[in-house]
Structure formats: structure tokens, C-alpha cells
């Protein structure tokens, strides 16, 4: 252990080339691997979305048969959730948490390496199922039985891939918790931690509680298919609705796993570009904790139409609506932080502002869906698709883009092209609304989700939505180009790349040294960083 630790501490002789990336235990290297992997998955999942929108450009069948269409919707969701959004946040956590809390690295560096390197195998396996007899999974990312049990040869491979993703997430979460609880700078109390660290600590608890639940659910699916059990088979005395309860006990906190770190990012960016401390820091922490708690008691709002007692419907409706209170606290505090601030509108701030506006739209449509009688109308329509894409694209994804624009100068040591960044922002924001806003109208008019063909009255808004999708997809190549250009060179970035930035990460050089804080930061530095 001590020898390994010594070799690990000696960062001047780390391997070069591909071996460096395979064997690395350095938090920044692993963060970079996660971010690159999530960018690749974002483009693969995005290409599936392009096929989906091309197919829906007009009624009738154009490019793919219905089964392939269903495979694309299923894999688009699985890849975007588990391959793009979650690894991007884990990458940001890896890069930033040790630097923000004054630690030299993550607490469990070798487990960190494992957490990442499981993922490429999991997703190669998942994508490989498309080429197996019977095709890939086509029953939706929710994997409801009995439909999911009709998957062909691919079934056990999908289940194995989901298990690997779960193991990776749980190991990542253990590492985040162990790092935050044990490696903070001596004078950094919990209530002095940056909001991004706080949101990740709470997210990690959520991950540990719910990823094993998903793993348990899919294990039971596996035994139902191959080992003669009947957990979810009505014919054998089981209950298919029980799968939905178990799945959504995982699935709803999963939504918050994808949005709480986003709240943390936005809470870092808005004060920087408002040149003011965050308004109501403690209220923000308690709001995040409340949202995390509430996320465990709202799962059945995803399944009102399967039938449940009136008391249960009322409970899940009201508990869901209650989430609006801490979320409202957060939106209020972000606005109050900007109030009378000296605002400037660089790309991170633009994405953060778009997040506040557009995520709130997703929140409002969520409130509409929470109402039981209304949900009976909206269930399984494009209104639901519009809702969760406002939460996950203009919410989670925009926050990741904001984070990349915010910390890229720190990571690379170079400033990027601001004009190009603003172009990327405006094109993304315009096209994302052209893409998803009309889907509210389609849903309210009754267009069902997960169909490759539709009645002619839905044509116009589908066309608009598809044009938005193509524009949004193309705009992301600007993002890729900007990142590559920034890595390759550019104007030197100072240690504190943004004038209003606070926090320990800005005390390190840009790019930071191989190991972030080889000595604990002084109490004065901690106090200066924690000026929220």
C-alpha cells in the first residue's frame, strides 16, 4: 500500500501515451476521460435522435422500420442518460471536487480508474446489441415487462451492460463521498464547501441508494426470463406493475441525480458573473437536501394511469407539487444573486441564464403533469417528451455546457474564442426551443410518444420540431470545434480566469499541477474561497 502510494504520489514519472490513460489514477486524467467519453456518447446518442426526427419529419415510414425506430428511441435514452449526462457530471466532479476542497486527489484513486474503465465496455456491449439476432432493446429505457422480455438474444447483454453502468456509478459515488468527508482542507467545514461540492455530496447519496435498486429490478427481469421465476409475470403469480414501482423508485431520484449537480454548477457561475456572493447559501444547501429527500416519495407520479387508490394518487400528486417549493427557493436565490449585480454575459453566464429560464419551463410542465386528472390526458403523449427534454437538455445539458465554458480555461490554460462560444449559445438556445416547444402542442393535441408514424394533423409541428433538431445537432459541432481549438492553444488564461470567480480552484495555476493540492491550502485561502 505504502509503495503504491509513493509511486502514485510521484507524479513526475507517470506513463506516457495510451498507457497513461489506461492506468491513470489521477483525478484530472480520469475527469478528462469521463468528459471525452460523455462527449462521444452525446454525439452517438444525438445521431440516434437525428434519425428519430428525420423519420418523424413527415407522416408515413421513411428511413427505418418500426422495430428499428423503437430501438433508436430506447438506445437514445439509455445512452444520453447513462452515457452522456451522468458521466459528464462525474467527469466534472473528478476534475473539480479535489481542487475545490483543497485535496491532492480523490480518496480512492484506483477505484476511480475502475469506475471509468467499466463504462466503455458497458456501452460497447449495449451498442453491440443492435447487431445481434432480433436486434437491440426496443421496449423503452424503462424496460417494462412483459415487453422487455420479448427482446431477442440481446436481452442478457443489455442487463449486463446496465449492471456495469450501475457498478460504475456506485463506485464513483463512494469515491465522491469518501473524498468530500475525509479530504477537505482543515478549515473547510461542511457549510463552507462550494455549492457544486454540496450538490455532488447529496447526489452521491442518491446514487448509492437507487442504482442498486435498478440493478435489483433488472436482475429480477433476468431471472424471470431465464431461471423460471415470476417476479413480474402475471401468468406465474407475479405482478408487472411491481416492476414499475421498483423502476420508478430508482427512476425519479435518477432525474435528480442528473439535475442536482446542475444546480451546483449554476450556483457557481451566477455569482461569478454577477460579481456578488451567492444569495442565501444555506437556504440553497437545505433546498437541495429537501429536493433529494422528496425525490424518494414521489415515484408513483410516473404511473398514475396504471391504477392506484385515491389516497395514493393524492399523496403522490401533493408530494410532487411540494418539490416546487425548494426549487422555487433556488430560482429565487439565483435571481436575487443577479439583482443589482454587475452582470456580464460571457458564454458560461449565457448558458446559466438560459438554464434558469428554460429549466423553469420544464418545472412548470412538470407541475401540470403532477396533477392526476390532467396527467390522465398527458400520459404517454409528446407533452411528456417536451417536459423531460426541457429538464434534461435545457437543464442538465445546458449546465454541463456552462460548466465546460466556465472551467475550460482552468483545465487547458487557454481562453477560448468568446464569439464562437456566443454563436454556439444562441444557435443552441434558438434551435432547442424550435425543437422541443412545439412538442408541447403535439402532446396536448394527443400525439402519442414512441411512434414512428402519426396522423396527418400532427405534420406541421413535427416538421418544425425536426428542423429544430437538425439545427441543434449541427450547432454542437461548433462546441466540439471550440473545445479542440482551446485545447490546442489560444490566449493564456490566468489563474483566476474570470474576474469575479471565488473558490480554491482559482488559486491553482491554469492548467493546474498534476496533483492539485500537495499541501493543504492555508486557512486564509479557505476563508477567501468560501466568501459566499
Amino acid at each position: 500500500m505504502s509503495n503504491a502510494a509513493t509511486a502514485h504520489d510521484n507524479h513526475s514519472d507517470h506513463p506516457r501515451g495510451i498507457w497513461r490513460w489506461i492506468t491513470t489514477t489521477n483525478h484530472k486524467d480520469i475527469g478528462t476521460l469521463y468528459l471525452c467519453f460523455s462527449l462521444l456518447m452525446f454525439f452517438i446518442g444525438g445521431s440516434f435522435a437525428m434519425v428519430i426526427r428525420a423519420e418523424l419529419f413527415k407522416p408515413g415510414m421513411q428511413f427505418v422500420d418500426p422495430v428499428t425506430f423503437n430501438e433508436f428511441t430506447t438506445l437514445h435514452a439509455l445512452i444520453m442518460i447513462f452515457g452522456a449526462i451522468m458521466p459528464a457530471f462525474v467527469g466534472l466532479a473528478n476534475w473539480m471536487i479535489p481542487m475545490m476542497i483543497g485535496a491532492p486527489d480523490m480518496a480512492l484513486p484506483r477505484m476511480n480508474n475502475w469506475s471509468f474503465w467499466i463504462l466503455p465496455f458497458a456501452f460497447t456491449l449495449l451498442l453491440g446489441t443492435m447487431f445481434m439476432p432480433g436486434g437491440g432493446p426496443a421496449g423503452g429505457w424503462t424496460m417494462y415487462p412483459p415487453l422487455m422480455l420479448q427482446t431477442g438474444t440481446a436481452f442478457p447483454f443489455v442487463i449486463f451492460a446496465v449492471h456495469m453502468m450501475g457498478i460504475s456509478s456506485v463506485m464513483g459515488a463512494i469515491n465522491v463521498i469518501a473524498t468530500i468527508l475525509n479530504l477537505r482542507a482543515p478549515k473547510m467545514s461542511l457549510l463552507k464547501m462550494p455549492l457544486f461540492v454540496w450538490t455532488w455530496l447529496i447526489t452521491a447519496y442518491l446514487l448509492i441508494a437507487v442504482m442498486p435498486v435498478l440493478a435489483g429490478a433488472v436482475t429480477m427481469l433476468l431471472t424471470d426470463k431465464y431461471f423460471g421465476t415470476s417476479f413480474f409475470s402475471a401468468a406465474g403469480g407475479g405482478d408487472p406493475v411491481m416492476f414499475q414501482h421498483i423502476f420508478w423508485f430508482f427512476g425519479h431520484p435518477e432525474v435528480y441525480i442528473m439535475i442536482l449537480p446542475a444546480f451546483g454548477i449554476i450556483s457557481e457561475i451566477i455569482p461569478t458573473f454577477s460579481r456578488k456572493p451567492l444569495f442565501g447559501y444555506e437556504a440553497m444547501v437545505y433546498a437541495v437536501a429537501s429536493i433529494a429527500f422528496l425525490s424518494f416519495i414521489v415515484w408513483a407520479h410516473h404511473m398514475f394511469t396504471v391504477g392506484m387508490p385515491l389516497a395514493a394518487q393524492l399523496f403522490f400528486m401533493l408530494s410532487t407539487m411540494l418539490i416546487a417549493v425548494p426549487t422555487g427557493v433556488k430560482v429565487f436565490n439565483w435571481v436575487a444573486t443577479m439583482w443589482k449585480g454587475s452582470l456580464s454575459f460571457e458564454p458560461p453566464m449565457l448558458f446559466a441564464l438560459a438554464f434558469v429560464f428554460l429549466f423553469t419551463i420544464g418545472g412548470f410542465s412538470g407541475l401540470m403533469l403532477a396533477m392526476v386528472p390532467a396527467d390522465y390526458q398527458y400520459q404517454d403523449t409528446y407533452f411528456v417528451v417536451a417536459h423531460f427534454h426541457y429538464v434534461l437538455v435545457t437543464g442538465a445539458l445546458f449546465s454541463i455546457m456552462a460548466a465546460v465554458y466556465y472551467w475550460l480555461p482552468k483545465w487547458t490554460g487557454h481562453m477560448y474564442d468568446m464569439t464562437l462560444g456566443k454563436w454556439h449559445f444562441w444557435l443552441s438556445t434558438i434551435f432547442v426551443n424550435v425543437l422541443f416547444f412545439p412538442q408541447h402542442f403535439l402532446g396536448l393535441a394527443g400525439m402519442p410518444r414512441r411512434i414512428p408514424d402519426y396522423a396527418v394533423q400532427f405534420t406541421d409541428w413535427n416538421r418544425v420540431s425536426s428542423i429544430g433538431a437538425f439545427g441543434f445537432g449541427l450547432a454542437q459541432f461548433l462546441f466540439l470545434y471550440l473545445i479542440v481549438r482551446c485545447i490546442r492553444g489560444g490566449e493564456r488564461a490566468g489563474n483566476r480566469a474570470w474576474e469575479g470567480a471565488h473558490g480554491l480552484e482559482w488559486e491553482l495555476s491554469s492548467p493546474p499541477p498534476f496533483h492539485s493540492w500537495t499541501e493543504a491550502p492555508s486557512d486564509a485561502l479557505v476563508a477567501r474561497g468560501a466568501s459566499h
Binding site: A178, A209, V213, A520, S522, L525
Partner: protein, 48 residues
């Protein structure tokens, strides 16, 4: 880089390593409990 300039004493470092290991084992066990707990719950419900 500004810092305290004082390396962590070996005893502190050993204690910290113990705490890290303990947290990892604890949270690993919690995760395993959720996994097996939900399967056990489903078994009990199915047996009724």
C-alpha cells in the same frame, strides 16, 4: 501555490486512510443492502 507548508503527520495520514477505507466499506454495504433488500422485498411480496 500557497499552503500551510506543513506536511501531514504520519499518524494523521494513517488515521485518514482508515477513515477513507471505513467510509468506502460502509457505503458499499449500504449499496449492497439496497440491492438485496429490494430483491428480498419482491420475494416476500410474491410469496404472499
Amino acid at each position: 501555490m500557497a499552503g500551510t507548508g506543513l506536511p501531514a503527520p504520519a499518524a494523521d495520514e494513517a488515521a485518514r486512510r482508515r477513515r477513507v477505507r471505513r467510509s468506502a466499506i460502509l457505503f458499499g454495504l449500504i449499496a449492497a443492502a439496497f440491492y438485496f433488500g429490494f430483491i428480498a422485498m419482491s420475494l416476500v411480496r410474491g410469496a404472499r
